[in-house]
Subunit: 141 residues, 2 copies
């Protein structure tokens, strides 16, 4: 049996010093191919069909590892569950409070990159900037 995955996923893990196990590559690949800000459960459910022995604990461990190593972003925007984003480039998010969907938005040019800087004596490693409201689709429907 073989697992298909993009070279991008494999390279991403290598560049972030994460050992590319089959499970890790599959999960990284899923994040890169699915820009839907999936939850742990989303990833688990969608990968289970092709990897029947996959454990949810592994998905938890792996996604946590990815966010610690900077290979993915952990979004604490939804009040009920954590979401993950394979796109680590500077951008912002919009959570629709009606349908729950998370959209990508361009980051305002005024919001500067300050990772590694310190503010009021605190050492900053992550910036989170997002909006909540009602999305275009829900407004029209």
């Amino acid at each position: 049996m073989s697992f298909k995955y993009t070279k991008e996923a494999f390279e991403r893990l290598k560049s972030k010093n994460i050992k590319p196990s089959i499970q890790r590559v599959a999960i990284m690949d899923y994040l890169i191919m699915n820009r839907t800000h999936p939850s742990v459960d989303d990833v688990y459910k969608d990968l289970s069909s092709s990897m029947p022995t996959l454990s949810k604990t592994t998905v938890y461990n792996t996604l946590k590892l990815f966010s610690e190593k900077g290979a993915a972003l952990m979004l604490t925007i939804d009040e009920n569950r954590v979401n993950f984003d394979g796109d680590t480039s500077p951008h912002t998010h919009f959570l629709c409070k009606r349908c729950g969907k998370i959209y990508d938005l361009q980051i305002p040019t005024v919001v500067k990159e300050v990772i590694g800087m310190s503010v009021a004596g605190h050492q900053i490693s992550e910036i989170h900037y997002y909006y909540k409201g009602v999305c275009k689709t829900c407004l029209e429907g």
Copy 2:
């Protein structure tokens, strides 16, 4: 038996069209007097001593009501629980990933108020802007 609370708490509820029941005023007062970004459990535990019959469900309902009516902010910055902030004026937060404490920070002048505006067709009602990292105290200790 009587409950002490600040006039500010009572007035806040009135101005946000929230009926000022004893429980609601007590919880609003707690938020105003304790700028510690408490969780539901923090509020419940601290108020239980003076209000022994207080139910945790009431704390959940009340804090959700406050955030819906704009009387308090619901912070989804911690990955494990939701926190609340009685200070609704524009400011940002810093979460220490080591000790878990949430600090208030001044909002950068570049981050403008865009509530009520729309971005990419989505109607925005909340802006969240915060940092994560290691706080001054943890760096020194």
